[in-house]
């Protein structure tokens, strides 16, 4: 085990996966010479050559579209979208082709491409460097979506995505690229898609979160330690959702608060709440509550903290639910 930051764990994953499979290649803006604006792909160009860590023109739809063709030529491309909101031009390819092409071929051709990007706010960045676009991806048929919250999962989920024969979108919490350190298994490390993780055991309330909201929920659990026992469920894979883990935790605690950074309406939290409404009704002692971002453009960074779910807002929701 090595102690790595989250972004170091991603870089470690790339070195392992490109080393074990000569069909894996990385393409994106500034991934080669610069090693990525966050250095997630640092060293790959030197180790594996410029063809397997390729600096593309500035063209997100072009990157995703070329990756579709690369799959047809036998490659397993990993596309970097430089920032969350920069991925939007690529949605055209994602929706019209990436998620559909295998289906279109009657299952005959696989499209094992991975799309990864830093996501989320809290980093005092300019506009459109702070979005949480997971819902767009989750809502796209044919595409799987994973969001790690720890360095070990950042490595393991990315490895699973790269090895998956289905297209997978991996969103990485950029807030924690360098602020979060953790033990990361050396060498090959794969975290199976579709499996949630209990980040913290508890008995009174379940906090359901993913990505950068998981550490926040852990802090909220600490804050509430004298009042109640919070379980923190790290969803890890948004699609397919580990319903079993969600329902088991809901059954155990009887209370659920969902915490999501993205805007509220029709966000992923709404899906989690709907699953609970359909399948956990009789286990619940109170309504499912959501603590989310607001239905606004992600704010100017001087006041961005007002947008982000906070320990205080999560604690308030938990107290409200306990008093229900």
């Amino acid at each position: 085990m090595a102690e790595l930051t989250l972004v170091e764990a991603i870089n470690d994953c790339f070195h392992v996966e490109l080393g074990r499979d000569p069909d894996v290649m990385v393409l994106g803006e500034d991934v080669g010479r610069a090693g990525g604006v966050f250095r997630a792909t640092a060293g790959l160009r030197d180790t594996f050559g410029p063809d397997r860590c390729f600096d593309t023109p500035l063209a997100e739809a072009g990157i995703m579209g070329a990756a579709v063709g690369l799959c047809m030529a036998g490659w397993r491309p990993v596309c970097e979208m430089q920032y969350d909101a920069f991925s939007y031009p690529g949605l055209d390819q994602l929706i019209t082709h990436v998620g559909r092409y295998r289906w279109r071929t009657g299952g005959a051709m696989a499209f094992p491409l991975t799309i990864r990007m830093p996501y989320g706010g809290g980093v005092r960045a300019p506009e459109l460097h702070d979005d949480s676009p997971e819902t767009y991806y989750v809502h796209t048929p044919g595409v799987k979506v994973a969001i790690p919250s720890t360095p070990a999962d950042a490595k393991g989920l990315l490895a699973a995505a790269i090895r998956s024969d289905d297209p997978v979108v991996v969103l990485e919490p950029k807030l924690h690229y360098r602020t979060l350190r953790g033990e990361v298994p050396e060498g090959e490390h794969v975290v199976e898609l579709g499996k949630a993780r209990i980040a913290r055991e508890g008995s009174d309330v379940t906090l359901v979160a993913y990505g950068s909201m998981v550490p926040l929920c852990e802090r909220a659990a600490d804050e509430l330690a004298g009042e109640c026992s919070c379980e923190v469920l790290d969803v890890r894979t948004l699609k397919p959702l580990d319903e079993e883990a969600l329902l088991a935790s809901a059954a155990k605690t009887g209370r659920v608060v969902i915490v999501q950074e993205a805007p509220r309406t029709a966000g992923y939290g709404a899906e989690l709440a709907a699953v609970l409404a359909e399948k956990a009704m009789l286990d619940l002692r109170g309504p499912v509550l959501r603590v989310t971002g607001y239905d606004v453009p992600y704010p100017y960074w001087q006041i961005e903290d007002a947008y982000m779910p906070s320990v205080e807002r999560v604690a308030r929701a938990v107290r409200k639910l306990l008093e229900y």
Binding site: G62, A73, G106
Partner: protein, 352 residues
């Protein structure tokens, strides 16, 4: 640094008009080749005309007509090797016929039956691209990917004049140029995007000029002249295969039929111009050329038409004889590892 060469503006032509414009010839083409090209043209024409009839009879759904586009498709495909990949738009829906795909398959695609979806690797023909120009990056990616693997295959992507306004065309063309991808970007400029004329699509004098911006060669060819199309594509393919990167071909023609069976062009198109274009349509033009050359007689032409008609009769009969698709297919094929919810979904769909 390569010198920027202006795209070739003059329309390349081989077939004359039987009068003032003399016939040319394409070096290396044998009489067999000339007749094979004719067979391809007739096959596509027959497919297209029968499809319009089948639509009117309610036997296929809405259909995108490609009447008078046959020369562009037949001429360019004849310049490819079997290892080369074709990326069709919906206007080239039947181009797989030229690679041995059964008519039944394509008819089923237009009938919305799951058996109309094929494995691209069986024919090196990608799936029909319905959105405009979004397959251009695919062709670039495939060609680049093959080149990286040391393979010699070339890709060709077909799109219309309207497609050159799309971002995907630009991103794909630029990607191809930057990576030196062995790809032919084949624009069938039929001068209409449903009701929007070319003049409302671009201020460029010629679409081929766009090649200059990507630093790639551009060729302009008469899209109704199957031999000129063949020769231009052969040149582009040879360049691509020998490391010369992409070429933009603008094939100029005129859409002498509705955009699709659901379209009524009388609201926007000049019927006299259409009539004039129909008189000079590409299959008849080539047949007259072959007759002037003494290569084709009426009996042989009739035989080719009869074979194509029979192929279509068989195709539609086979398509209609296939049993309806099982609804379980709704959940099939999108994923290698299906979503866990699908089992319950199917049970619920079946009333369980």
């Amino acid at each position: 640094m390569a010198q920027v060469v202006p795209a070739e503006r003059d329309l390349r032509r081989v077939i004359g008009d039987g009068d003032a414009v003399p016939d040319g010839e394409v070096e290396g083409l044998t009489e067999h080749d000339l007749l094979e090209l004719h067979r391809s043209l007739v096959l596509l024409r027959t497919y297209d005309e029968r499809s319009v009839v089948y639509h009117r009879q309610g036997r296929i759904g809405t259909y995108a007509i490609f009447w008078n586009h046959e020369a562009m498709q037949a001429g360019s495909v004849y310049a490819l090797e079997d290892e080369d990949w074709i990326f069709p738009s919906y206007r080239e829906s039947a181009i797989g016929l030229l690679r041995g795909m059964p008519a039944r398959t394509i008819l089923q695609w237009w009938r919305g039956h799951p058996s109309g979806w094929w494995n691209p690797a069986d024919y090196n023909v990608a799936s029909i691209c319905v959105p405009i120009a979004t397959h251009v990056p695919h062709a670039a990616g495939l060609a680049w990917g093959k080149k990286l693997r040391g393979e010699t295959a070339v890709a060709i992507a077909y799109f219309g004049d309207g497609a050159t306004s799309e971002g995907s065309f630009h991103e794909g063309a630029n990607f191809a140029a930057v990576t030196g991808a062995p790809v032919v970007l084949f624009c069938n400029n039929n001068q209409w995007a449903i009701s929007t004329p070319l003049s409302a699509q671009t201020r460029a004098d010629a679409l081929v000029d766009k090649a200059v911006g990507y630093g790639i060669p551009g060729i302009r060819v008469d899209g109704g002249d199957v031999l000129a199309v063949y020769e231009a594509t052969r040149e582009a393919v040879a360049r691509a295969r020998t490391g010369g990167g992409p070429t933009l071909i603008e094939a100029v023609t005129y859409r002498a039929a509705p955009h699709a069976t659901a379209d009524d062009p009388s609201a926007y198109i000049d019927p006299e111009r259409v009539e004039e274009e129909r008189k000079n349509e590409c299959v008849g033009r080539y047949e007259r050329y072959l007759r002037r050359l003494g290569v084709l007689d009426e009996a042989a032409a009739e035989q080719v038409r009869a074979e194509a008609a029979e192929l279509m009769r068989t195709g539609i009969a086979e398509a209609e004889a296939e049993p309806p698709a099982d609804v379980a297919l709704v959940f099939e094929h999108a994923h290698v590892d299906p979503l866990p919810a699908f089992e319950d979904d199917l049970r619920e769909l079946r009333g369980g």
